[in-house]
Symmetry: D2
Subunit: 418 residues, 4 copies
């Protein structure tokens, strides 16, 4: 456990953790998980920031976080809690013990912004619907206002914003969005922008570090990145690397290192949660799949390698994402061989500790005055954001071992003050 959390005499600081998609499965596991950690009911299994030497960083303690968030759907946490309990992910004892913490979080959930490409279904929160009809400028002001009010109400040193909302329909980045002026013009002109980008702008303008755990655009456009540099805000993304892609970026380097020629890599993902339902829509699936393929081409250094990624919505699996991958490869003497794996994991149990890790790391980065893309966090993402000028850098690699080493180099640098 992180010793820093208990250093007695200093005045206790507080850090806000603001979750977009506040009632979803991952956010729910973050809230209940943090409560369980705080109360000593849970071991910090799956938390990268609790492993040495990362755990020696001056990170926010579990009891220093105050939670809030945005949500577009009516209702509360109970639906997610019921589902997660029924499928064996949230233990009834934890649910009972975290009751008060959950209520405090619930009290800080505000109506969110639905992406303009969405058709608001029956469950949409009326205030979210109204916000959707506002101009981009008004939307940003309303969302930023929520963040600022939250910071003030709890006297928070800082608020880290994490995007956990359902993946948006794939937007293409407009050329104008690549500059700060272009983004400003788009906002002022009332042009349509992805909700995730509106959120990112609101966060950055409010001085809040921003973590994009989804494949939505968020802070990816060049203009938003400039904004972050200008406001001195660190940010990272995109798309948490939790399961099949993590395994791919661990295994593919082995084939490359041994000179084994990958002929085909087919991956089939089955999932039954809200994410799966969203991804059963081909328009949303598009961006997700491109993320998953690009890693293999880069690591195998073979732009023509045959790859396939399937994502199927299988409701009975609920949060238990199951992936079956088949790798066909050739070795010496032309011998054709295969490797096949099945990964079966709870999506929320895998993602939620990484959200806590990233909130701590973004808070640390901000406290150290870092700004712009947090390159050290590449190992957490399927499509890590790196500074534009940094294209040839090894940090851009999808190879998990390379990314993880770069992360540890950063950690050691912070610890040794270099």
């Amino acid at each position: 456990m992180n010793e820093k959390t208990t250093t007695g005499s200093e005045p206790r600081r507080s850090v806000g953790l603001w979750l977009i998609g506040a009632h979803g499965s991952v956010a729910t596991c973050v809230a209940y998980g943090l409560s369980g950690l705080r109360q000593g009911l849970l071991a910090p299994t799956g938390l990268v920031t609790e492993i040495a030497p990362v755990s020696s960083l001056p990170l926010a303690g579990f009891d220093e976080f105050v939670l809030g968030g945005h949500e577009v759907l009516r209702g509360d946490l109970s639906r997610s809690v019921t589902d997660l309990s029924r499928h064996g992910i949230l233990h009834p004892d934890l649910v009972a013990a975290a009751h008060e913490d959950a209520a405090a979080y619930e009290a800080e959930v505000r109506p969110g912004l639905l992406d303009s490409t969405e058709v608001g279904g029956g469950g949409l929160d009326p205030a979210s619907a109204r916000l959707g009809a506002a101009s981009p400028q008004e939307q940003i002001e309303r969302l930023a206002g929520d963040l600022i009010a939250f910071r003030k109400a709890h006297d928070l040193e800082r608020v880290v914003v994490v995007n956990l909302a359902s993946v948006e329909v794939a937007w293409s980045i407009q050329p104008g969005w690549n500059t700060l002026e272009g983004i400003d013009q788009a906002i002022e002109g009332g042009a349509a922008l992805p909700a995730s980008t509106i959120y990112a702008i609101a966060a950055i303008r409010s001085g809040c570090p921003y973590v994009n755990f989804t494949p939505s655009l968020g802070a990816s456009p060049g203009g938003v990145r400039e904004l972050a540099l200008e406001h001195g805000v660190p940010h990272c993304g995109s798309d948490g690397k939790t399961g099949e892609t993590l395994v791919k970026t661990v295994l593919a380097p082995m084939f490359a290192a041994r000179g084994l020629k990958v002929l085909a890599w087919q991956g089939y993902n089955m999932l039954g949660n809200k994410d799966g339902e969203s991804l059963s829509d081909p328009a949303r699936r598009a961006s997700k799949i491109s993320n998953k393929d690009e890693a293999l081409r880069e690591i195998l250094n073979d732009p023509s390698v045959h790859t396939g990624v399937g994502i199927d919505y299988v409701p009975s699996l609920h949060d238990w994402k199951t992936a079956m991958d088949y790798v066909h490869f050739e070795g010496f003497l032309g011998a054709r061989m295969s490797m096949q794996f099945t990964w079966s994991g709870s999506d929320s149990a895998l993602a939620s500790p990484l959200v806590i890790d990233l909130a701590r790391l973004a808070d640390l980065a901000a406290s150290r005055g870092e700004r712009g893309e947090m390159v050290q966090a590449a190992c957490f993402f399927k499509s890590p954001l790196v500074p534009a000028g940094n294209a040839g850098s090894p940090r851009q690699s999808h190879d998990f071992a390379v990314q993880h080493r770069a992360f540890l180099d950063y950690v050691n640098g912070v610890l040794t003050g270099s």
Copy 2:
């Protein structure tokens, strides 16, 4: 392809490659594979030394190798060739094209030494049987004599000896063997020593770099390592990391890096070649299995992790080694998840290019004046030998990515002259 092999005007040098277990599947694939590479019939798939930047090292070219070896069984290469063809590993076209090269190799195969724990079966070469009855001193002299005669006959710059013989029954290292004096006394006193160690001593005394691609003891005892330092000979081992263990040492670090707690790791290996037949003997299996388990404990940093390794002889699979592994692990919130993989590869097609790689690397090391354990080669072995005083070094890690990075650091060091 390695450019060094074609530098025109320099006088052509020759390097000997001496294979212990000369008629086995792996040695057969080395011989036919080198011939195919030389004739441009095979792509260098699966060869680590043909990947940049390793390929820029001043390595022996494929056409600079002259082959010979020791074998304890009567007969010739034809049985292995027939089996490997029937099971789709050696293509009939390659078999035809390599005919002359194979005959030249065959002409340099000499009777080998059977381990004293073996019961010589009907197929034993009579000269091997006679050698088995000799004293250790006489055995070493006879084997060394073969190496020296081979070097002289072909005017070789150097002879690299590679142990590819069937795994020996597990010997325990006697305390006396840990010093050079103890080894000398054992030899002089006529004490029983593993055949693999006799071979290693013969190679080292003849100034030949020695590669132990098997789990047998070979040069592992401290006294033999001292001998290598004294004779200025580089050596490496033990037990080529070709399949399931390679995958294990690639995947296990992922669990460790993410703080996921491995509860159990069960691995089941099925194989049908001579190696499989040997390992169906529990006494031989013992050492093999201990090698396979130790890597997981080290990487996961958990001496109590539940692991199991099965090795079953399944004749119909012949050279197609198939491994099925099941990993049970725990994540955040106590969620229990699993990963399962099946690896199906030709043992000989995976091992033989690594033998060529190691012969080139050992030749390079010797030409550079390196002596003792080749720590840079750890990524090739299940139980890499490291210098005794080096226990805390990261090079001792079983983590493949760490080993591979150390290897590349060595390569870059050689290339930049540092």
Copy 3:
């Protein structure tokens, strides 16, 4: 649901269900499962007797069963309940709702008989220990006394005894046990007999149908079978076919029907419950494995087929038995192909409904005056008992489809009165 259970005006009858191994996982799931079915909290998923046309048989209703049993360990159901809840098999709501029924069952659990080959560990019930020291005759009388007292106390029409105890060390059937006289002599002479056989004799002498759900000997010896015929008692066994073997006996006939030659069938079972712990003892594993192999040889009609069965104790899996099978086969043109499967199921959730099914079927058989081996129940067992003279009968097949058809023929025969 079975309509027969609710036919109003008839006086309600009661049937005893006596479980040997009363506090084990399977027995616990039988007790809580029956309570859940009775209260309408559970769907009858996994119950063969609830599928048409089986459900039309005049079977005992869920509310007509009264439970009791024998147990050799101290303690009560709570350990099993806690474990099964923690591993997601018993839902906390069901545990709460079945509290009263469980207490009633608990009140009818009596000290059991430990097999004489066991070393009674610290948790042994003292009364069980004392019973173990008694003569076979006394043991039978004590156990039969428990059954008779239970029947009388609850005014039961019949008591069905089901053996769910941990598998015994493999006993070989003594020649003398093949006749009723020989068994009687063994009992009178105080010879050692397997506990499972003592239980079977006690049940049969008390007129109780006996179901052997384990691989222990039970009523298998010829003399005990004669006893059952003489007492007019139906019985069945051995070893419930719940998981991997079920799949094997479904898949193997496909290869046979298509003329595909199975070259090798390797099966690896991992389990972490009490059964797994018992089977980690090679002596117990012996009988289990022979059962699993014999089915393949018979179905494939190939006594020389290469098969392998591994059983490994993997504590973290607890009740979630996981099996990985690899089938290597040859087709036309000598093509070598493979099929591989992974079965991952809760042992207790698979076994317990079959125990309820068999209790109902044994009760029905007794009510119809059937005696001796219940050949119709072959589809429920890994080693189905058939009458001695019946060796050539198709009912002896291990082919699940053949067994299931024979079962449906029996059901239709009962329904049509033929």
Copy 4:
């Protein structure tokens, strides 16, 4: 081996086997396989008609078949032979030994008919292109002419026509095609009809038994079935059940028989041969997938079961079709379990012996005066054709064990003359 093939004194009869798609992989394996069987070079592995008691039927011997066929592409067998050899399916020795037989077959291959929905690529045989432009009536006459000329040239007792062509784009059956008059009108009116149906009509009008081994329409329309009854011709189809669907129809009945509720069944097929290339076209895939799904719904008796079938073209696999299936199911107490399998087989090695079986069985049926749908052959097909009035018959089941039993009942009926 079939004894009937060698009964000496009778005059030797000859049976024609006419393969549509004459140069494809399956047809090539039929031709080389029959030659190998005839010469005693191959064991009859994978042939259903060589297993007792089927082998006792009065079937055509391997040396009684004369081969011919239709093909739309230019070229000859050599491309398929080269591919099948390279991928380890046709052994070089067999290729050499069957050279003469292959040449004789080649001499009897005639230009075929391309389906009108196809765009003829560059490799199209010019005569096939011309035939495609003809009226249906002319097409039928030309194709029938080829069959009749073949029968006459070789003095054949009978010619069995087997459709092995690439799957057509899905056609919907026009209402008019359900009667003989409607079909006649369509032909006379020059309406577009699927090529497979044109072939079927040509075969039936020529008195040739017709086997549809593909998912194309063929003889499925009611009017064509009437035609077969009128001409006294037996026929069967559709779509050979060779791999994943075979396994599905073997496994699914197990879940049904045990009352285990299948929640989801996802199947992913990867293949790299011509069939795979065709199926990478969504329009063709449509009919294939519907066939694969319908079996599960029927067997599980659950129209709402969640199923998914993926078919992906993975060129490197060539003929080695690999399927990965995931079955999610629920048992007693609501326990959620899974079974997963990987099937890896050579499509052509699996299909070709069944083609020989069906040719023999269709020849037998014709010799016995059977007409219309060969219900006994249901076990060979994914979508077995049954007589219209026969909907409630158990023969329509997709359950392989039920189909196989019906087949054996037919065989025993023929053998006993009942």
